[in-house]
Symmetry: C3
Subunit: 425 residues, 3 copies
């Protein structure tokens, strides 16, 4: 009986995959070829499947699950996100799919994978699938609010993708928090193995670097993929490149400075905080922030992220809010930081707007609807607040639902362990 249930645990997933197929047959058609020249699709594809997948192999006994569930979740979400995103832009009840739609679906899947990072090793496969399906729908609603209702600029998705994914994940984590204060440091027979497994081996930290470095390499493509003009595209590439470089140098400096072990570097910082430069510059990378400004943003991002890993995450863990990959430090806070920068640069757009029409063009509502700079700044702020609240709240309730017995929560001694999901050698 147990056997049969285990084998059938993905039966609802099969039903969902078949429903997706039917929806595609009914609603989706090939678009015309005008988006064929879209940049950054292949690079973003590497980030989603290699980047996120390998970054999460840092746990010593959870590499198969990290790679496997990353792949499964993304393969499911890209199909589902393409529908959810296009739902708000249907014409005659038909969805026109182009190469650009695929890029947008890939970008949306990052949201879910960031959430997965918060829950790595503590949520079961079935829980993750349920969370992914719900999160995608809410995140697509949110991105519609940000881009189409508030008309906020967020070309690299730091608000609508990175912040959303991180705080949705922390919302779930808050809901999954079982016994707040006594659980974490408990040392009874059951929890010991799980606690033991929540850490890297020498080789798992090396394979995690595959993911980390590929994410870093292709981040300029990710941030610039949805730009519209050559000048905007080039600014996005240059700013992201410089911000990442500066964040990387800063990460090494600060990791050594705050070390508990004689100035030694912490691989967690190197794998993650180096990337915070890409998140932090995301919402403003296509603006005239200046190459020096991009470096300044990156320095701030590296600093913020390492300090978060070093001082904030242990506090959250003590409160029972688990965040296995520390997505709050890589995606959450740097995303909020980027959102605030977008408020700043929108407010500063006033005098530049007429002198440099290109800058105005970044804020479509200023160009097309005559919105003022301070109004644009306000809408950037609203977009940020709505994203933060919506992600946290919807994540929390999704987390509560995911504790229902049908979603097969993990026991303490099943956490961070490939054993329950995989035939191991």
């Amino acid at each position: 009986m147990v056997l049969k249930m285990s084998r059938m645990k993905y039966a609802p997933l099969l039903v969902f995959q078949l429903v997706l197929m039917v929806l595609y047959f009914v609603f989706v058609r090939y678009g015309d070829g005008e988006d064929v020249g879209v940049k950054g699709f292949e690079d973003t594809h590497v980030m989603i499947f290699i980047g996120f997948g390998f970054l999460m192999t840092f746990l010593k006994k959870y590499c198969y699950s990290a790679l496997g569930f990353n792949w499964l979740l993304a393969a499911l979400v890209i199909q589902w996100a393409l529908l959810c995103q296009s739902f708000y832009h249907m014409k005659d009840n038909v969805i026109q799919v182009t190469k650009k739609s695929l890029l947008e679906a890939d970008i949306m899947s990052a949201t879910v994978l960031i959430t997965f990072g918060a829950l790595l090793g503590v949520a079961s496969g079935v829980q993750l699938l349920f969370i992914a399906v719900v999160e995608t729908a809410v995140a697509c609603l949110n991105i519609w609010l940000v881009a189409d209702v508030f008309k906020a600029a967020d070309v690299g998705g730091s608000i609508a993708i990175h912040s959303f994914g991180a705080y949705f994940g922390l919302g779930v984590s808050l809901a999954l928090r079982s016994k707040p204060s006594t659980e974490a440091p408990a040392t009874n027979g059951n929890t010991v193995p799980a606690v033991d497994l929540n850490g890297p081996s020498y080789i798992s930290d090396v394979t995690a670097m595959i993911g980390s470095i590929f994410l870093w390499i292709y981040w300029p493509s990710f941030n610039s993929g949805l730009t519209k003009t050559d000048a905007e595209y080039q600014r996005a590439v240059i700013n992201t490149y410089l911000s990442l470089a500066a964040a990387t140098v800063t990460t090494f400096i600060i990791s050594s400075a705050v070390s508990k072990y004689h100035g030694r570097l912490d691989m967690v910082h190197i794998q993650n905080s180096t990337l915070a430069g890409g998140v932090a510059v995301g919402s403003v990378c296509n603006m005239h922030i200046g190459p020096g400004g991009a470096i300044a943003v990156g320095i701030g991002a590296g600093l913020l992220s390492v300090l978060g890993y070093r001082y904030l995450t242990p506090k959250l863990t003590k409160l029972g809010v688990l965040d296995t990959c520390g997505v709050n430090n890589l995606h959450g806070m740097p995303g909020l930081y980027s959102g605030l920068l977008s408020v700043l640069f929108a407010a500063l757009a006033t005098k530049e707007k007429y002198g440099a029409p290109e800058l105005g063009a970044v804020f479509d509502a200023m160009k097309d609807d005559g919105r003022t700079a301070s109004n644009q700044a306000l809408y950037q702020f609203i977009a940020l607040v709505v994203t933060f609240v919506l992600s946290l709240v919807s994540g929390f309730f999704t987390g509560l639902l995911s504790k229902l017995p049908i979603f097969e929560s993990l026991k303490e001694n099943e956490k961070y362990d490939d054993e329950i999901n995989w035939e191991l050698p």
Copy 2:
């Protein structure tokens, strides 16, 4: 004496490399720059050298050979394939090489690497080199029959590359089958180590995922690389993307459903059957199969491939027909499936042909020579049958020849082992 012979074992390869050089000096010239814009070359290059190479590192003690021989074979075959393929299109006894020729040479090398997958760990380096040289020549003849004589549509090479490579490999395997029924389960001193080594370690299954995921990521580029128009290109990318996504989700579901261990996932399925969606859609990916159709194709591919690994491969192994990577399940059967789909869509082309001229354009012979849809369907079928028979038969005879003493067959206790080929740490 033994020493000297071992050191000189690659002497014939040196001669062949020098002959290639002379042939290039005599026959090959730079083509003009009109193919410079060819898409997908760099991505395909990653698939051949990283994708195939790392996918085959799943054996615990054969990683060096997997990576090394993959590299050696492909580096040799791309030089040789460029000559063999262009042989049928020479003008004034001159071969014009362009960036597109490099892409075609890369694609051809996939054929040999698929065959290598069937023989992984059981054929010696010298055998593999002999097989590769012969196979390339025959496969180039076959692709000329398929594309130029039968004028069959096969843009992603599922017929001429994937099926050919798989069944050539199974043909060789059939010929190498030494003592059919008693050999496999034997447990005498000699065979035990080999049997022991024919399996993964925890880390080798992780490095294999590097190859698997890169193949998956760049498959849309592979299938669309030789398309001619933007609309056709975009259909190829979208269909391959969706088919792969659906095959991936299906693979997880079915792997769990047919598991012998409480619904646990099998890494072999995850590494391989996920990719079957790319093969299955290959021959038809540029056609108007519809986004829903692409998902349906992918679901079928995942199902077919996992069931093949689970139930068919063990039967073939019992019969002595070894297929180390299970290429029959990843390339063989999905390739035949794709070929049959191309028959179907050719037959359905009739009424679409006039309504949607783009579809007709996929079948050059229907557009240029006035071939009817049912005739086109017939030629698609002939191309599939000829490929299957030619690959199996030529593989079988090549396998028989490779058993000659000069090719240094492996003894049972030398199989699946880097020891005989590499200085190990």
Copy 3:
């Protein structure tokens, strides 16, 4: 006290990063969008951060440092190189940064990473940072001499990048040579661990292949990135592709032929000498060397490189000149070889120049300034000699300076060991 000093060891780096930020604010502006179509940037980016990084993970206990310092050095150098290179081309005291500048900065960082390869495991982090900053400035001066003063052709950077980086590294190594003859074979307690760690493990040689193969795959993009016409671009891609393929086949043959162990292959050769084909063809890859010529160049490169690893490196090591990755065999000698080929093809350009104007176009000074072929050949030679002497001498003096106490040289028992730099699991 010791603790505090260790934690503050990167304080000068923080100052340098802040100085860079200020320089960018003052001098650097976005260029216009005309270089947006530059080819090869993303591919080169992969080579720098994944390629060089993972290639150097071959040491069993130095993977974190290889990946980490590679990343840190490159992230620092790209910011610094962009300034140093552009210094010679400023207009109105302003540096215009474009996507092409990023490519050039990436290419320049390769110089420093090659030097890092020579010093892998024997120089401390602080030494490496000091060396990187000095080397970048000198290398940018040298590339200005080669390209703008001597007007030598060197599109793939085999002279100004590969040779420079290798001989700068050997110059440093010469200066670091502590006790020439007795040190190396010493077996007292202190040196034993270091000697033990200067070698690979089974898995570290596999991860090194990730780097090696990605370098190999994207080398055609690296060599062709700075070409100016489609025809020149295509020649660069084809020649690099063929030279690499031939070098790879040759490497396997020669590695087996010179083996001390029954013809077994040496992973060091496979990881490195395969790439020598890309270096050797670099300076001439955009010229009319012919596809057969490209294969000939590659065969020579594989031969030269394997023989260097097998017979020359052990001699240098005995003399106390350490070269951990053998960059002399991968970048140094193949770079000189490529430089000499450029002398040859410049001299041969005479009669071709008028018959095939495209060839002339490769040598800008012949087209624009009426320089003769023999004069061009002379300048190619001067560029090569100046590069060799400048790199070796400046490397030597930089090495001497790096022995100052403030740069924290490693003790014998700290070499090749992640322990001193990293919190290990």
